[in-house]
């Protein structure tokens, strides 16, 4: 059967959330609401030192004076921040020696996701730091890493064990005053990951965290801090899926990357949180602030595959402060049904001979809206800055939208900036060609979408690329008859 607009429309609506299930784990939850007391209590509960408590309180103070931003090309009912419980942690003992001690319910969840820890361990030698509703419950491969001097732990642990590093770098790239959600996160973050790679060390494995949102009505405020010391290298993977819920869940994470001289950080994300049902009800609000700073000759590369969330507001950015530093952003954003995504990057060229590359692929289906928003800024002292940007949009069906908002600001005459954008659709001739080779329409679309996204998929670490490819397929599954 050939692929028609009507069928496409109908079938797209039937796509349901693949990972919609709920794990029943006993939780220890704070009463909802946010105040100075709650901030203090979070800090106290986590046994944080006084400097951290003060840092949070200061963040809370400045946040209290901020307003929720409205400039993004998204529409939603703002979450009631006072109705959210700011702390939820599995009530069971928070530390495990081995996987045997982990709640079997939790392991079952991972099995359903097809990313069981056992499999992960066997497959790729990935050290998995699982963040289940804010508190880290299992860490593997820690020993191997420790031998190299690599610190990979929860941020709570780092605050206690490595205060000098945390103190120096937390908020140094994204100050609490940066924006509304970063401010909120700074005040109330419950946990997240911390990673430090010492001078000259090449991290021997991909570091990975699977984030989950699993508690009805709990906000999730992750805080990630990655520091790559001089001449070091690390590849960090972050992937997420979430159980299906009726209420909107807020996720306001902050990720800070610091690449010191000659260091390289590769940060990859696959995001598949609950996007809401086909009527646009429910789904995660994903308001994330991610930013990295590059010192001399260092490189930060962001790769993201965004298929989930009801509303996404996310701009992983690079501040190219050091001379000869490099920033990269590779993104695939898929929206379906009523999803809205406003995502892109900022490349701030400050140092000389800095280079940045932006490749963004947006795929919109159903009634969704997909926007690329980016800024390339070349400062007056950034001699010989180079940027190449390419933003391609693929539209499926006639009720979605694809938008491109690139901001390009050049204040140096040696800057070379190139920006290209295209919008296209899947051709009926392409579908027929695949059909004639025996490939059904659904598979054909997956194939074409994968081809469209290839430049970005290629940037993902192997085991992640496979998962991402699968995810793209799932996201557009049942899209035609």
């Amino acid at each position: 059967m050939a692929y028609t607009e009507e069928e496409l429309k109908k079938e797209l609506e039937t796509k349901e959330y693949e990972y919609g299930f709920y794990t029943d784990i006993e939780s220890d939850t704070f009463p909802s609401g946010l105040s100075k007391d709650i901030v203090r209590k979070i800090s106290e509960k986590k046994g944080e030192p006084e400097w951290m408590t003060q840092w949070r309180l200061k963040a809370f103070e400045s946040w209290s004076e901020m307003e929720e931003p409205e400039w993004a090309n998204v529409n939603y009912v703002k979450p009631d921040l006072q109705a959210i419980s700011y702390y939820s942690a599995p009530r069971t003992k928070p530390k495990y020696e081995s996987l045997d001690e982990v709640d079997p319910e939790l392991l079952k969840t991972f099995e359903k996701l097809g990313i069981s820890i056992d499999e992960q361990k066997k497959l790729s030698g990935v050290a998995v730091d699982i963040v289940m509703d804010s508190v880290s419950v299992a860490t593997t491969f820690k020993k191997t890493l420790a031998e190299k001097g690599i610190i990979f732990c929860s941020i709570s642990e780092a605050i206690k064990e490595h205060p000098e590093l945390v103190k120096k770098y937390i908020g140094s790239v994204i100050p609490p005053k940066d924006n509304f959600y970063a401010g909120l996160n700074s005040a109330v973050f419950t946990d997240g990951s911390f990673c430090y790679i010492p001078k000259g060390v090449r991290c021997p494995m991909e570091l990975s965290t699977y984030f989950r949102i699993n508690q009805a009505g709990t906000g999730q405020f992750e805080r990630t801090l990655v520091i790559a010391d001089e001449g070091s290298y690390v590849s960090y993977l972050e992937g997420c899926t979430a159980p299906s819920r009726d209420e909107n869940q807020l996720h306001a994470a902050v990720v800070e990357l610091i690449a010191l001289d000659d260091a390289e950080i590769k940060y990859s994300t696959v995001q598949n949180w609950f996007p809401g049902n086909k009527e646009g009800k429910g789904g995660v609000f994903n308001f994330v602030t991610k930013r990295g700073i590059c010192h001399d000759r260092s490189k930060i590369s962001w790769t993201q595959v965004e298929t989930g969330s009801a509303v996404t507001w996310k701009y992983p950015s690079c501040i190219l402060k050091g001379d000869n530093s490099v920033g990269e952003f590779y993104s695939i954003a898929v929206t379906n049904n009523f999803q809205q995504a406003d995502t892109g990057t900022k490349m701030i060229h400050l140092g000389q001979n800095t280079k940045s590359t932006i490749i963004s692929k947006g795929i919109s289906a159903g009634k969704s809206q997909n926007s690329y928003r980016g800024l390339v800024q070349v400062g007056p002292r950034a001699k010989n800055a180079r940027n190449f940007s390419q933003c391609d949009s693929l539209l499926m069906g006639n009720e979605c939208g694809a938008h491109t908002f690139p901001y390009i600001e050049a204040k140096n005459n040696s800057a070379q900036i190139e920006h290209e954008a295209t919008t296209s659709k899947i051709g009926e001739d392409q579908i027929f060609y695949c059909n004639q080779r025996g490939i059904d329409t659904e598979k054909a679309i997956a194939l074409i979408v994968n081809g469209f996204s290839k430049e970005v998929l290629n940037k993902l670490p192997m085991e992640f690329a496979v998962e991402a490819q699968k995810l793209l397929e799932i996201s557009l599954e049942g899209s035609v008859g």
């Binding site: 004639q436 080779r437 490939i439």
Partner: protein, 252 residues
């Protein structure tokens, strides 16, 4: 193998095919010739199941099975292969990845497991050699930036990989220089056996020097106006299509 009876078809309300009868048996090669606009490509698209063309009347059977009820991919699963006159570009999808997807889709339809990677690789190497295809070519995006010759060779390569029972070569010779033509024809000939059949659609007789047909049919204005053996192709070449027009106007 393929039986077509009194086939009528139209595109956007305009009648293109006005009663085609064709009987192709296993082991045979049929050539369909005719001037531009006579309906050659419509016929091939119709057999392959392109829904841009509406079948208004007639029958199409493959080994006794009604094709009309089948979607394009189901017809492919039944063993129909169309070498496109204008192969479609799919950016970012490599030739290898595409062929793998196609082969496994066809296997799945037959209830078979995916072809093991090693077996697939072996087969790809073997068929690539047959068609003088460079391995670099296999990693390029499907048809994107391919020359006319490369596109056609790629079509025959896919045919070799999928091993169809009925192949339709739609103007496979257009855009090919003589060396490429020989390679393509040689490939087609090697794939030929007593169990499969081939329909060659062409405007010129040249290709038929290399792929020798058992039967030649002349299509004009939506009808087969003359059928014969390979000599008919030579006659056409010598006399031109005006001769056919005259034949048609006399109601032959």
């Amino acid at each position: 193998m393929l039986t077509i009876e009194n086939l009528h078809a139209e595109v956007e309300g305009k009648a293109i095919l006005k009663g085609i009868d064709l009987d192709v048996k296993a082991g045979e090669v049929h050539a369909i010739m005719g001037p531009n606009g006579s309906g050659k490509s419509t016929l091939s698209s119709l057999i392959a199941g392109n829904e841009e063309y509406q079948l208004t009347k007639g029958k199409m059977l493959l080994r006794g099975k009604d094709l009309i009820e089948l979607d394009a991919e189901e017809r492919a699963h039944e063993g129909i292969f169309l070498s496109f006159q204008y192969p479609v570009e799919i950016p970012g999808v490599s030739v290898t990845n595409f062929i793998k997807t196609a082969i496994n889709a066809n296997r799945k339809a037959k209830g078979l497991e995916d072809m093991p990677a090693s077996e697939l690789l072996k087969k790809i190497r073997e068929k690539a050699k047959l068609l003088d295809i460079d391995s670099k070519f296999l990693s390029r995006s499907l048809n994107e930036g391919f020359s006319g010759g490369e596109k056609k060779r790629n079509e025959i390569f896919q045919m070799a990989m999928l091993e169809p029972s009925l192949s339709i070569l739609d103007e496979t010779d257009s855009g090919l220089d003589i060396d490429a033509l020989k390679i393509v024809a040689n490939g087609v000939n090697k794939l030929k056996n007593k169990d499969n059949a081939t329909i060659v659609i062409t405007h010129y007789q040249r290709l038929l020097d290399y792929i020798v047909p058992d039967f030649v049919h002349v299509l004009f204005d939506g009808r087969i106006v003359k059928s014969g053996t390979k000599e008919l192709a030579h006659e056409l070449e010598a006399k031109g299509y005006d001769w056919i027009k005259e034949l048609a106007s006399h109601g032959v």
